[in-house]
């Protein structure tokens, strides 16, 4: 399959008629089903990484403690495996413990491998066959799978979810949750809780109506399907194409019985006059009841947005933090506005907004709309701030880590006389900006550590590059933070100070988010990351490498 750029996005070519399954030594996969208890304890179990965010609270944290700030210098590459198709590489693998541990890794377009994580050998691989008319705004991404029982679950680019037998790779069921012909697609890792698969919606550049859906994990039947946009928050039919998609993995709060999901931009992107009002709850956080999908609360970071300031990165749930003398649970929301929002998990009320994670130059200053001649460069640009890149949290350092872009773009609303037959886009986007503002610091990305009790920035690593940083981070029980950058450097930071303690250089960008597990039979901790350029802008050279590092304990 190949990805071809077209006028309004990307389309796939050379797509096979049917899915392609290749089986190798599948008997090596231990037939031990993943149960709910294993999922609930995934974040605490050093041998597991059973879902996209590591655990339901999306800390992207391993309790494995072999690799420490003192010995990380000795971390070595265990193996490299060519897994991809030379296309998008934005995923986070999951690892099911066993002898051997089995890794399930995906890359674009809709390609999944079951891998003996100890030996670095592919045991089966599966490629879904999406229709050739799928329209994609931002690359042919797939960011990972969910696992439960004897199955894994992967979203498909044509807005579906496919369930595969995780021991053989054979397809069990496929369910469409939206119609790809009207613009829906799906790229994120779903999440499973209590026998239900939770998935969302993409297509925010094509006038769809955002939703979340819950599917029965065994049969694929839809349990509920709820729109993200409440009818009484929109005027007339503007809601029908108001977008507000939910295109990254929801965060599960087992105690409250709710999910927290990021919500994307309203539609159309740039012409706000046709969708008046705040366009609640776009560009923010939405909380829904796990059993019914009923909306609990929403919080907007950029109401009535006309800058494409999605809030897409997974929310991070941090329990029992002390804020202003009170113990509370907070939800951390980080979007393209370049701040982190510390929200009360109960009701979405803001405790505090962080210090600026990106610069804010001419931010929100183009309302009222100005003419093309008067356009001004602004930071953050349309890629953010924090686009979809997943944050991490360290219980060890009690800091959360975020990737924020920091680059000036021009966005302008172009006054156009409406003439039948002439196109009306209502605006345009230039990257880079025509004129770089004097105030810009020259760093395209900030990797930032934020105190979730105060919003204070503990440290910031400022990155120079031609590309945007396109992957997320991971924390360890020993206070390390791993992050791959757009210059091909895989870095272990001292989570407390931001000092770079270890680096490994690849020859292409890292656009994925790392993960880790401990293998008791080998008495070793492993760290894995996918390598290759990805994204909708400034993606850099492609790659197809899964890199696994290890250290014996």
């Amino acid at each position: 399959m190949e990805l071809t750029e077209v006028e309004d996005g990307y389309r796939l070519t050379n797509v096979p008629d049917d899915p392609v399954l290749e089986q190798h030594d599948t008997d090596r996969i231990p037939e031990v089903d993943v149960d709910q208890e294993m999922l609930s304890e995934s974040g605490e179990d050093p041998e597991s990484w059973l879902m996209y965010g590591g655990g339901y609270e999306q800390h992207r944290h391993t309790t494995a403690d072999v690799i420490t700030p003192d010995n990380v210098d000795d971390l070595e590459l265990e193996y490299e495996l060519s897994v991809g198709t030379g296309s998008s590489m934005e995923g986070t693998p999951v690892v099911v413990p066993g002898d051997p541990p089995i890794m399930y890794q995906t890359n674009g377009p809709n390609h999944v491998n079951a891998i003996d994580a100890r030996e670095g050998e592919v045991l089966w691989s599966y490629a879904y066959a999406p229709p050739i008319d799928v329209l994609l705004c931002c690359d042919d991404n797939n960011r990972g799978v969910a696992v439960y029982g004897d199955k894994i679950y992967m979203t498909t680019l044509d807005s579906g979810v496919v369930a595969l037998d995780r021991y053989t790779g054979e397809e069990e069921w496929h369910t469409f949750t939206g119609d790809h012909e009207v613009g829906y697609s799906a790229t994120w890792a779903p999440v499973v809780y209590d026998g239900t698969v939770y998935t969302g919606s993409a297509g925010g550049e094509y006038g769809v109506l955002g939703f979340l859906a819950a599917l029965d994990a065994e049969s694929g039947d839809e349990v509920w399907h709820e729109d993200t946009l409440p009818e009484d928050e929109w005027i007339g039919a503007s809601r029908d194409s108001g977008c507000g998609t939910s295109w990254m993995t929801p965060t599960i709060d087992e105690e409250r019985g709710v999910l927290y999901t990021p919500i994307g931009n309203p539609g159309p992107d740039f012409d706000g006059t046709v969708r008046p009002g705040p366009n609640f709850p776009t560009c923010g956080t939405l909380t829904m009841d796990l059993e019914s999908g009923e909306i609990q609360w929403g919080f907007q970071e950029s109401p009535h947005d006309v800058w494409d300031y999605d809030s897409a990165a997974p929310r991070v749930l941090v329990r029992d933090v002390e804020i202003d003398g009170e113990e509370t649970d907070v939800v951390l929301g980080s979007g393209k506005t370049g701040w982190v929002y510390i929200l009360d998990a109960d009701d979405g009320r803001l405790y505090e907004r962080s210090e600026g994670c990106s610069q804010h130059i001419n931010m929100w200053r183009m309302i009222p709309h100005i003419s093309e001649e008067e356009r001004i460069p602004f930071v953050p640009g349309a890629p953010g701030g924090n686009d979809w890149q997943p944050p991490s949290y360290s219980p060890e350092t009690e800091l959360a880590y975020f990737v924020h872009q920091n680059f000036p773009q021009d966005l302008y609303w172009r006054f156009e006389e409406y003439e039948p037959g002439d196109p009306y886009w209502g605006g345009g986007l230039d990257d880079p900006a025509d004129e770089i503002p004097d105030e810009w610091n020259g760093y395209i990305t900030h990797f930032v550590a934020v105190d979730p009790t105060t919003g204070e920035i503990a440290w910031m690593d400022q990155i120079e590059s031609e590309h945007y940083m396109w992957g997320g981070s991971m924390t360890t029980a020993t206070g390390l933070v791993f992050n791959g950058d757009q210059n091909g450097n895989f870095v272990a930071y001292d989570g407390e100070t931001g000092d770079r303690l270890w680096e490994y250089e690849f020859d292409v960008p890292i656009s994925a988010s790392p993960m880790s597990w401990y293998d008791p039979d080998e008495e070793a901790q492993y760290v894995a990351v996918q390598v290759g350029g990805s994204g909708w802008l400034r993606q850099g050279p492609r790659g197809d490498t899964l890199a696994v590092f290890s250290m014996e304990g």
Binding site: A237, S238, V274, P278, F280, D324, L350, M363, Y418
Partner: protein
């Protein structure tokens, strides 16, 4: 605690622009006010402007519910007079309450107008915002004494009334971006069948912003300043003033009272302009809270 005066929301330069737009010479420190302009603006006869009002009257007068509109006018006046109390509360205690109630009479008007296809008919009848149409509208508004006095009766002082005129007269380019739904051609990047009529967007948008204030102020309390609260109250008052003008003109149509056809055209155009400009200003000054605008953090 005081409510922001319109003196603080319009500048001397903007008021001068208003006078210039109406071709009225003002000298030195002479204040520019609605009443001051009223006697000095030359009336111009424009049959086309009048025919719009005539058509609207013919189409809709019989469908408007005079009793409901009277009730709406009373409700809007009540909520306008209650606004200082709402402002005095500051950040609301809950995400829905004070401003939700303030918007309620406006929603009753909106629902009635929606029911009788008022908004669609206005899209079919009214021209889009152009410099000429806006200027003609402003002249008519300034010269309509009954409108001026009605606004005074519901609590708009001279500077506040003038601020409403400034909103109409000095924002041609912004207003021009709000295009009647039926004038957006096929071929744009979004589905035009999903775009509500212009006047529905203006009023519905204004009401959504007002109703959303409780939630916004409550959620964003750590960032909210007294200036933000003042602006929230003022722009709400301005939007309600615009909605009141729509209700007044609709009521006049329903009861065949005093408004001329020109005044009907000007009232519906001007009220939509006030609602549009004020909701954009509200989002800029109240919802888009930059670090420079925000209250100092109490946690760091």
């Amino acid at each position: 605690m005081t409510q922001t005066s319109a003196d603080e929301t319009t500048t001397v330069a903007q008021r001068r622009d208003l006078a210039n737009a109406l071709e009225v010479d003002v000298s030195g420190d002479e204040p520019v006010t609605w009443d001051g302009l009223a006697g000095r603006v030359e009336s111009t006869s424009d049959p086309a402007f009048a025919s719009i009002g005539e058509e609207i009257r013919a189409d809709l007068a019989g469908q408007l519910d005079a009793a409901l509109l009277e009730d709406v006018l009373d409700g809007l006046e009540r909520e306008l007079r209650r606004l200082p109390e709402v402002r005095a509360v500051g950040v609301p205690d809950e995400p829905g309450g004070n401003y939700v109630a303030v918007a309620e009479p406006g929603w009753r008007l909106y629902d009635h107008l929606l029911e009788i296809n008022f908004f669609e008919r206005l899209d079919e009848t009214m021209p889009r915002f152009t410099a000429e149409h806006v200027e003609r509208t402003t002249r008519e508004l300034v010269g309509t004494e009954s409108l001026s006095s009605a606004l005074e009766e519901i609590g708009f002082d001279e500077t506040e009334k003038t601020a409403l005129l400034v909103a109409v007269a000095t924002n041609n380019e912004r207003l021009a971006r709000w295009v009647p739904a039926n004038q957006i051609p096929d071929g744009v990047e979004f589905d035009t069948s999903k775009v509500p009529p212009l006047h529905q967007r203006a009023m519905g948008g204004a009401l959504l912003w007002i109703r959303g204030l409780d939630r916004h102020l409550w959620q964003y309390e750590p960032l909210v300043t007294e200036a933000i609260l003042d602006d929230a109250a003022w722009y709400t008052k301005a939007m309600l003033g615009g909605i009141y003008v729509t209700a007044l003109a609709a009521h006049d149509l329903a009861t065949a009272e005093s408004f001329s056809d020109e005044t009907v055209t000007a009232a519906f155009t001007g009220s939509a302009a006030i609602q549009i400009v004020s909701q954009e200003d509200l989002m800029r000054d109240v919802f888009y809270i930059t670090d420079e605008m925000r209250a100092p953090s109490k946690l760091r």
